[in-house]
Symmetry: C2
DNA sequence: CTGAATCCTAAGTGATACTG
DNA sequence: CAGTATCACTTAGGATTCAG
């Protein structure tokens, strides 16, 4: 069950994308970043309504395995599980910001181009 | 044939990943960056032996459509097509570097952790 | 509330053969 | 040399159901 996958990359940058490239991971990290403190599973689900429960858990697990976030379980009824950015996760912050900035510029540029072709 | 896809993103950073997230795109951009001037299709194929011709062309097309690279066709026999980073592509350089740096650190960290568990 | 398990589809990828 | 077309395969992602 513990199928250990050895991932190899041609260039280091690919390792980074492997970590943050999941379909919902940016969004999840984004929500874990906004506001301090850990977030409950249900909070994340509420914050990202379009994600299925399966994908939410799956992406969270991958982020956890990659050491980006931490998962804390409270043994109580009803169950309570919270996720939080790890130190390694916080080291991603700068890259996340850069990705966001470039993306903004890119989107603006495309809107500008398409508005021209409409003329 | 010209199927126009409207891509929507929850956060701008996702747009960036959409552009550079293709399986071979980082590698292609990497090779277009190393050394000045444009690269021929066959040069890229030689530089990235594992990629199939289909994937090479496909990823190049997507990069071109996204404005990251330029494609120049010389009308001659035998055909000659060269690809080159565009201005927009060059604006990616910083992010590419950051992704690489973080990836390096991440890989080192994982090697360190696995060497510990080997005991 | 959290999340595991199953089944299913769509998309991505690859091998191969073919065209100008 | 550069690119297309087709088929086969793998995988990510999603709907649903069940469990502690």
């Amino acid at each position: 069950m513990e199928e250990q996958i050895t991932r190899s990359f041609n260039i280091p940058a690919e390792a980074t994308l492997e970590v943050i490239g999941g379909k919902w991971k940016l969004l999840i990290l984004c929500h874990l970043n906004c506001g301090p403190g850990p977030k409950r599973t249900s909070e994340l689900k509420k914050a990202i309504p379009d994600i299925t429960q399966k994908m939410l858990i799956q992406q969270l697990r991958e982020l956890e395995e990659d050491g980006i976030i931490t998962r804390t379980v409270y043994n109580q009824v009803p169950p309570k599980v919270v996720y939080e950015m790890s130190e390694l996760g916080n080291s991603l912050q700068f890259i996340l910001d850069q990705l966001g900035e470039w993306g903004e510029q890119y989107i603006r540029r495309r809107e500008w181009k398409s508005s021209c072709s409409e003329g």
